[in-house]
């Protein structure tokens, strides 16, 4: 993510972030979003974005 892309997102979300913190936020989002930008969502097995944690059917 470039700083310009970050600023576009801030404008769309109406969120203001101090100029001296933009690079920190850019790095944080770039690292977090990398796996999502690298995935081809059409090729991922259809998985509901629903996570349960109980292997023995008791549900959570």
């Amino acid at each position: 993510m470039t700083l310009d892309e970050l600023r576009d997102r801030m404008k769309a979300a109406r969120i203001e972030i101090a100029e001296n913190r933009l690079e920190l936020v850019r790095r944080l989002l770039t690292d977090a979003l990398r796996p999502i930008h690298e995935m081809d969502s059409r090729k991922v097995k259809t998985l509901e974005p629903c996570v349960t944690f109980d292997a023995r059917r008791s549900g959570v």
Binding site: L6, R9, M10, A13, I15, I17, A18, N20, R21, E23, L24, V25, R27, L28, L29, D31, A32, L33, R34, P35, I36, M39, S41, V44, K45, L47, E48, P49, C50, V51, F53, D54, A55, R56, S58, G59, V60
Partner: protein, 462 residues
Amino acid sequence: MATDDAVYATIRDIGGRFRKKTLSPVELTRALLERIERLEPTLHAFVTVTADRALADAKAAETALARGDISSPLLGIPLGYKDIYATRGVVTSGGSALLADWVPDADSTCVARLQKAGAVMLGKLITHEFAFGIQFPGHRFPAAKNPWDLERMPGGSSSGSGTALAAGMAFGALGSDTGGSIRGPASFCGIAGLKPTYGRCSRTGVLTLSWTLDHTGPMARTVEDCAYLLQALAGHDPADPASSREPVGDYIAPLVRGVRNLRIGVPREYFCEGLDSEVEKAFEQALTTLRQLGASVQDVQIPSIKSAPAYMVILLSEAYAYHERDLREHPELFGEFLRERIQAGGLITSSEYVQAQRLRATLQADMGDVLRRVDLLVTPTSPKPAATFAAVYDPNYDAPRSNTGPFNMTGLPTLALPIGFSASGLPLSMQITGRPFEEANVLRAGHTYEQATDWHKRHPNV
């Protein structure tokens, strides 16, 4: 009064001394309160010390012991609670100016369960702001220091919990873990910390960071002590919508069963990339020790492990949803760094959040497949030892990759415990991960390794 050597004793040892009447809960609590008073100006582990409450709890435990009550191993054991756990009548700040004066009218479920088990409440332990920020100089709540090196972070967000335990200021503590906040401080402070299975321990009355990633759990100086704490904490809580009804097993008796024939998998991809050379050496030595103890150790692959950093998309999105109103109305009450990190969550699209949850489901399925072939996974807890405050305060600080976050994504029980020290005397740590609700296996392997080494017997010079 045999208290000088008691501050680093185990919970089981202290219980034995109570029953033999060579030590009393009141004596021990007074000794710890004096130690806290002496060390606090340097270490800043506590945000609130509840001395009167602690002595009242200790006297109650003493009375119970006098009438022969030995039903709880936590009776008379002094503990500290991370300041995101609500405590009735005691300020619960979350390390935030926003809640600096909040006095809850009820205990969180975890605190209530420990107190019911007879624990002594020493006070509230400092947390990183809302379990996610970092206390920069000038923050309302000063940052806890690492007792092994005062220039270094103790890890976070359960920073006070790690510091207090390493410095012998408490026998156990509550931490919380959304991306590694129990295991990071455990790693950097040379103690043990368990992130139980998601839903195993209640989150009721605990400040939220990220609903689907938040875990509560115990921290202590030994694996066995963690097991004692977990035994009191675990169990269904109808007030927590994520709480599991899975029956609670015995976490103590299996500790002595050893690791012979346990199959341990080592997923080197991702977890062992970019390791500090001293971490790598200590980790390989730990694997050798586990082999010598009878475990079979083999490399394993988790196909989707590279998607693990997407846990931060989930964390940021959910944290923003939780804090959005306060952020818009009172941004000045959020510390710098925390404010920007949470605001970042407002810049993530709904599609990206959903895709992150899909990646999470894939990662969970892949780890589940691996854990059908092996019983446990073992990984380094952190790729590097504790960083200096100066490094972390630098706006260009490049934080090391998180080895802890993947297990928040998957909700699997994961224990951190010491595996050595760097040449400069900083603790190093590994994680042991098990199948859902198999905390007993995780603790058993950790305890067996711990008994074969002496890392947990080393303490900082404070």
